[in-house]
Amino acid sequence: MPIAFEELAGNITKVVLSGRIDIAGASAIDMPMSLVGGSKKAVIVDLSGVEFMASLGLRSVVLSGKAVLSKGGRYVLLAPQPAVEEVITTSGVDELFPIFHDEASAVAAVS
């Protein structure tokens, strides 16, 4: 599965995505990401293991993040590889969900 979860101190949920979030990958993460969006208020999406992500994968991340923000929660992105970071910044998604490159900063941002 290209998605796993870790519960951190302070009711923070870390979503760990990995591999290729292409058509098959996006299909696999859509439902769990939607559940995260509907149930969590402090979320870190760890992208360090993602090798490829374009509009399909980004859409899943955005919809989940918007659901968290809309109920007053916090949602940040952690450590994307350069090619994935370019997709995120080009799309403007980082203006809604900031990118951090170390976990301590990401935890502080959602705490």
Partner: protein, 135 residues
């Protein structure tokens, strides 16, 4: 030399795009990082047709061709869905809004960033989008 792929909009069929693109690009002499950029643009071009044109899970075919030109590689996407010209589509904002619908035009922004040379033509009910990437 051109490489061709014909896929329906069934998700399992659409997933054939990526391995086909890897092989076709290798034949055309394309390597990273350009290959990664073509993947982003190709996904958007094909999924735009599948999700907003023909519709997912249909038996209608999207034809995709990759061909080497002199100093470029061209990706051609053809379909018989409703007319849509991504080249002429209105500019989209450079950021997404919390209140806006869905993912807010992310795909079109990506397509325009990753491919600077796009041409669209519709003839006899067929949409033809050509994406050119300099080598």
């Amino acid at each position: 030399m051109a490489q061709d792929l014909a896929i329906t909009t069934a998700p399992a069929d659409l997933a054939r795009l990526y391995p086909w693109l890897d092989e076709a690009a290798r034949e055309a002499g394309v390597t990273e990082p350009l290959l990664g950029r073509i993947h982003v643009a190709a996904e958007e071009a094909v999924m735009n047709v599948a999700m907003h044109g023909i519709g997912l899970g249909r038996n209608e075919v999207i034809n995709v061709r990759l061909l080497r030109e002199n100093a470029a590689v061209a990706l051609v996407v053809e379909d018989s869905g409703p007319e849509f010209d991504p080249v002429a589509a209105p500019e989209v904002a450079n950021s997404i809004s919390l209140d806006g619908p869905g993912a807010g035009g992310v795909g079109l922004r990506l397509l325009r960033h990753y491919c600077k040379d796009m041409a669209y033509h519709r003839d006899a009910g067929v949409n033809r989008l050509v994406l050119r990437f300099p080598l």
